[in-house]
Amino acid sequence: MQMLGMGQAVNQALREEMQRDSRIFLAGEGIGVGIHDSPMMPTYGLLEAFGPERVKDTPVSEAAIAGLAVGAAAGGLRPVVEVMFNPFFTLASDMIVNHAAKLRYLSGGKTSFPLVVRIKSGAGFGAGCQHSHNLEAWVAHCPGLKVVMPATPADAKGLLKSAIRDDNPVVFIEDMGLYFAPAEVPEGDYSIPIGKADIKRPGTDVTLVTWSKMLGVAMQAADQLAREGVDVEVVDLRTLTPLDTETILSSVRKTGRLVVLHEANRTGGFGGEIAALVMEQAFDALKAPLRRVTGPDIPVPASPPLERFYIPDAGQVIAAIKELL
């Protein structure tokens, strides 16, 4: 099977979908002519392949980019726009949250807004907190938006296809750290349904719920613990909203223990939602307290040792799990 980084997998999904459906166009800052010369980047080569009518480099105008998507979707197209880094989501948020998410409801269901907002996210590239700020919890708190956060290139390809084919606005968050970690990706057309979590590692002793780049950390911790005789079930959410409550709940009903792992700041992170869900619906199955392993409640610092301190690692996950056993 082909080995692709997540950027390449995204690229392939975009290519195949654009070939399939001429209503799809891309817009964003530097998505056509860019400052990166790397085939690992998600929009690499698409300008050459589809031309400037369908691959639109925009001015530095996040609200206009998002609004372009909203209007174009209402006008019959299927826009896929990019927010360059997650903190810039703030600048696009009125268009996405007050418009893309709400205008269908406000019309009484008469219109729809089939658009995808791709956001590049994640800490780890030394640029500091105005470039790194994981805000998926914001988007997940907005009815009318679906939030997809793939952890593997194969999932990214299949989920992006579903996002593009969805008639609702979908926010698709890519952790840039995953661009550079090739893994197997099926060739050709396939899609992965939005709203389905994936058990990336079955286990019996504890449920470890995570998403996006933290899946790698989770798997590392699970492997290590397996050697110590602890059998961890790793649930990769893949989609935050709609949330696959069934997969989470049946896992916790089986293991009786829950650890949630995310890179975003702890307080107010989406980990709380998982905790509440389990506490509401699987309380009787619980044998131990919750542990959350998350970024601390600080902005992401720039200096390498400080940034490493920010990002959760397998050691912390292992320690948290051991506290529950």
């Binding site: 166009f25 009518e53 925009t58 001015p59 105008s61 609200a63 206009a64 998002a66 609004g67 372009l68 998507a69 909203v70 209007g71 174009a72 979707a73 209402a74 006008g75 019959g76 197209l77 826009p79 009125d94 268009m95 007050n98 418009h99 205008l103 269908r104 409801y105 406000l106 019309s107 009484g108 269901g109 008469k110 219109t111 729809s112 807004f113 089939p114 009815p143 009318g144 008639d167 609702n168």
Partner: protein, 321 residues
């Protein structure tokens, strides 16, 4: 470009209907318990909706804002469905989800409406882009107030529309106020139309109480857009007769100012012109008035007799299937 009598009468009809519709809402707001939420009216500004919409063809798209009744009625929206929506009824054009503030009427290509001030600008560029991309013979009109031009979205969207030569007509309804703030208190330059220069698009300032002038400016802009020459900014100078909303005591609007502008009523102006030119008889004018009144009466009756939505219907319409 000449304006046919028929078109002038259509504009007059649209203005009379909007006036009647909104004066009735003013009345209804005085009756406790009839209308819930804010009530924002465009009384006195009717020539903008009528003039612009008279220049459009059915394929064109309009995008309006919190002060939308006159735009939507001129565009041909069903007064009953609007009124029922304003009353919060299930039969409203948006099933009670929107209320008066975000009336969307896709049936007349008013695909969505936003009450986020400035929210329309980027969406209009998107709608215009879709028209350009699909090579449609159609334009997008974006209605907005003078106050909305202070939003960053104005700048981002007009820059993009100018850059990509999108078929968008930006229609500023300069009624002298952004809520309680007068024009000079929010903008340090005399003309908003002049801001078009900053985006490489033509800007034009017209008498917003003269429907034919508005129509002609819109026609020019529409032709330019269809010819691929990009967007235009039209500033329509007009005035808000009533407060920002119906609960606003308007203390900050000088009484003489209001009175002076009422002298320049857009309806009296067009009907007077048509009467003077012999295109409209007194009897015909009375007929037009009566028919507007009948339509609004019927709309109110329809709204009042319509059922409320069931509470659980709130859960519908979030998601497309």
């Amino acid at each position: 470009m000449s304006i046919s009598t028929q078109t002038k009468l259509d504009m007059l009809r649209a203005m009379l209907l909007a006036r009647q519709f909104e004066e009735t809402l003013t009345e209804l707001c005085r009756q406790p318990g009839k209308i819930h939420g804010m009530m924002i009216l465009a009384t006195g500004q009717e020539a903008v909706g009528a003039g612009v919409c008279a220049a459009l063809s059915p394929e064109d798209v309009i995008l309006t804002n919190h002060r939308s009744h006159h735009h939507l009625l001129a565009r041909g929206a069903d007064p009953k469905a609007l009124m029922a929506e304003i009353f919060g009824r299930r039969t409203g054009c948006n099933k009670g989800k929107s209320g008066t503030l975000h009336l969307a009427v896709p049936e007349v290509n008013a695909l969505c409406t936003t009450t986020i001030v400035g929210g329309g600008f980027p969406i209009a560029t998107g709608l215009g882009f879709a028209q350009q991309y699909q090579k449609q013979e159609a334009v997008t009109v974006c209605f907005f107030g003078d106050g909305a031009t202070s939003e960053g979205s104005f700048h981002e969207a007009l820059n993009l529309a100018g850059l990509w030569r999108l078929p968008v007509i930006f229609v500023c309804e300069n009624n002298g106020y952004a809520a309680a703030q007068s024009y000079a208190e929010h903008t340090p330059v005399e003309s908003l139309a002049a801001r078009a220069d900053a985006y490489g698009m033509p800007g034009e300032c017209v008498d917003g109480n003269d429907a034919p002038s508005v129509l002609e400016a819109t026609r020019r802009a529409r032709e330019r857009a269809l010819a691929g020459d990009g967007p235009t900014l039209i500033e329509c100078m007009t005035y808000r007769w009533r407060g920002h909303g119906e609960t606003d005591p308007q203390h900050y609007q000088p009484a003489e100012e209001i009175a002076a502008w009422k002298e320049r009523c857009p309806i009296a102006r067009l009907s007077g012109f048509l009467q003077a030119s012999g295109e409209l008889s007194d009897a015909e004018l009375e007929d037009l008035r009566a028919s507007a009144a009948a339509i609004v009466t019927e709309a109110v009756r329809f709204a009042e007799e319509s059922p409320w939505p069931e509470p659980e219907e709130a859960l519908d319409d979030v998601w497309a299937e």
